[in-house]
């Protein structure tokens, strides 16, 4: 056992962590306060930390002055669609690479991992042209289809499926179970924690994604929340109380998910080190 730090070291550590923690958390709390201020308060040359009377009506105003309902629906459909797709496809392909032997397996696996070097920002122009040629610009297809699968998710699932004993699979085959049934009944239940990590991370990243929805949508009613927020902000000029209210709506789902599953998040970040 390591001895604990000395009293001074302990106080010093708490001091530093407290200051850094305040720097990370307080701006986000201020965002909450800003969302409850009147427009005049946000534009005052003498800004306040807390509004005189909290304006909960700002949240209703959001829906009156911008198609914020559309933003929310779009974000849910797009993020939900992509997350479900990842949870369906990534483990399936990961399973094939983990447990099947077939010609070209290694070559195909390397070809798959190579796509990790092709991030969206390198591909955004040809993808934009492709979506435009397909007539998909400004549609859910354009926002979802380029993200149906992810090499890292597949890699992660393969790592988790590999240690499952082959005997379990063979036994199921001898019992006459179909391949899909084996996958659903034998493999998937064994990798539930990895699926949770995959689902959480896919959700948070897609929920926050900014660049592609900005590129692939052209009308206001197709924006997702992150993009809607900024356009809203530019088009209506510094309506900070509404910008902040919209930010809170965007932020709350991820922070709730995080608070209820911090363990999985930390695990997921650690797993990203597997790359």
């Amino acid at each position: 056992m390591r001895r604990g730090p000395t009293m001074t070291a302990r106080i010093g550590s708490y001091g530093v962590l407290g200051v850094v923690g305040a720097i990370t958390v307080l701006p986000l709390l201020y965002m909450g306060a800003l969302s409850l201020q009147t427009e005049a308060e946000t534009l005052s040359a003498n800004p306040v930390l807390w509004p005189e009377t909290p304006q909960f009506g700002n949240y209703a105003e959001l829906f009156e002055r911008a198609p914020f309902g559309n933003f929310i629906i779009n974000s849910i459909v797009v993020t939900g669609g992509i997350t479900v797709a990842h949870l369906v496809f990534d483990p399936l392909v990961g399973y094939v690479f983990a447990k099947f032997r077939f010609p070209l397996r290694n070559t195909l696996f390397i070809a798959l991992l190579t796509t990790l070097m092709m991030p969206l920002f390198v591909r955004m122009i040809p993808l934009y042209v492709m979506m435009s040629n397909l007539g998909w610009l400004n549609s859910y297809q354009a926002l979802i289809v380029p993200f149906l699968m992810d090499a890292f998710g597949i890699f992660l699932m393969r790592q988790f499926i590999q240690p499952i004993p082959d005997d379990l699979i063979q036994a199921a085959r001898i019992d006459g179970a179909s391949e899909l049934r084996i996958y659903a009944r034998v493999i998937l239940p064994q990798v539930k924690p990895a699926l949770a990590v995959l689902g959480l991370f896919t959700f948070v990243f897609q929920w926050n994604e900014f660049l592609w929805p900005l590129v692939a949508t052209t009308t206001e009613d197709m924006r997702t929340i992150p993009v809607g927020l900024t356009l809203f902000n530019q088009e209506y000029f510094t309506l900070w109380h509404l910008t902040a209210a919209g930010s809170v709506i965007l932020f709350v789902p991820t922070v709730l998910l995080f608070l209820f599953s911090q363990r999985y998040f930390v695990r997921g970040i650690t797993l990203s080190g597997l790359k």
């Binding site: 990370t24 070097m117 390198v122 042209v129 926050n208 992150p226 970040i269």
Partner: protein, 309 residues
């Protein structure tokens, strides 16, 4: 998760009477495997390999549809273009500073949190929370806080009797670097924490018994054994530094005077404001080459550095 630790035999031939079926079974499994893989590779081919092929071919073209052959014109133009050079320098400084900052601050915080302190989980959560926010939130929020007239920061500085700031005008690049670190440092901290927890306790104990100071233990044990984590963190930070976009798009608009014209933001404007797809493709391809180089370095160095405990 128990199965993770057991090491079952990988390849088991069917024995006994079932062996007769093995060849036909195998063929069936091969077909099953391909049946699953064909849609997957159709997807990766269309959404990854084809776009890369497209930026390569389009990079030799010009015109609004990028369909007139221009040879190497886009590339020679890229190397002579002062705005590209500026953008490259800006991105280089941004990438280097965010990478070094992420490593130094992330590691320092991880070392603090690796002590047996009460409330570690709470601090870890507090430091990680900005990482969960969208760059849209981060950008807008800090633009508001830092605003010289409306921002709360100047109000607080005034109340404390300190000089006020307009950092987004006076030090724009340093400011968006700091904002980026605010967002990402929790992530590197968690990676370093995992790395630290992977270092066997005995090493530190043995060194302590031999009279090594904490400082010596850090430089001689912790840092060398963390090398794989540090390498991973740096490559991740470099790549996310290269892809920073929202910071310029939302906070600074690339200004003032192009001081924060991050590369992706530049390419975005060439493509979608100037509608110069050929030139934008060439610029994208140059970025792709940089990413490939960094990834190859990571793989090469990473393999050499693999630590055996």
């Amino acid at each position: 998760m128990r199965q993770l630790t057991t090491g079952p035999p990988r390849r088991r031939r069917l024995r006994g009477p079932l062996a007769v079926f093995a060849p036909s079974l195998n063929r069936r499994y091969v077909l099953t495997a391909y049946a699953f893989l064909i849609p997957a590779f159709a997807f990766f081919g269309l959404m990854f390999y084809l776009p890369i092929a497209n930026i390569i071919t389009n990079s030799f073209n010009t015109g609004p549809q990028a369909n007139q052959f221009a040879g190497l014109e886009n590339y020679t133009r890229a190397f002579e273009d002062a705005s590209v050079q500026n953008s490259f320098t800006v991105t280089f400084i941004f990438g280097a500073a965010t990478t070094i900052g992420a490593i130094v601050i992330g590691l320092a915080l991880a070392l603090l949190l690796n002590q047996p302190l009460r409330g570690r989980v709470v601090f870890r959560a507090a430091l990680l929370v900005p990482y969960l926010t969208s760059v849209a939130i981060v950008g807008l929020l800090w633009r508001n806080i830092l605003d010289p007239q409306l921002g709360i920061l100047n109000r607080l500085l005034m109340d404390l009797g300190l000089p006020t700031q307009s950092w987004l005008n006076t030090h724009p690049l340093a400011t968006i670097i700091a904002v980026t670190l605010w967002m990402t440092v929790g992530y590197t901290m968690v990676l370093f924490l995992a790395g630290l927890q992977g270092i066997p306790e005995q090493y530190h104990e043995a060194a302590t018994v031999d009279g090594a100071s904490p400082w010596q233990r850090f430089w001689r044990i912790t840092l060398p054994l963390l090398a794989p984590t540090t390498l991973f963190v740096s490559v991740m930070a470099v790549i996310s530094g290269l892809q920073a976009f929202g910071q310029a798009y939302i906070i600074t608009g690339g200004g003032p005077a192009n001081a924060t014209d991050l590369y992706i933001f530049h390419v975005f404007n060439v493509a979608f404001t100037s509608r110069d797809f050929g030139y934008a493709s060439a610029l994208s391809f140059l970025l792709f080459i940089v990413i490939v180089i960094f990834t190859v370095i990571q793989l090469r160095v990473g393999r050499r550095n693999e630590v055996q405990y």
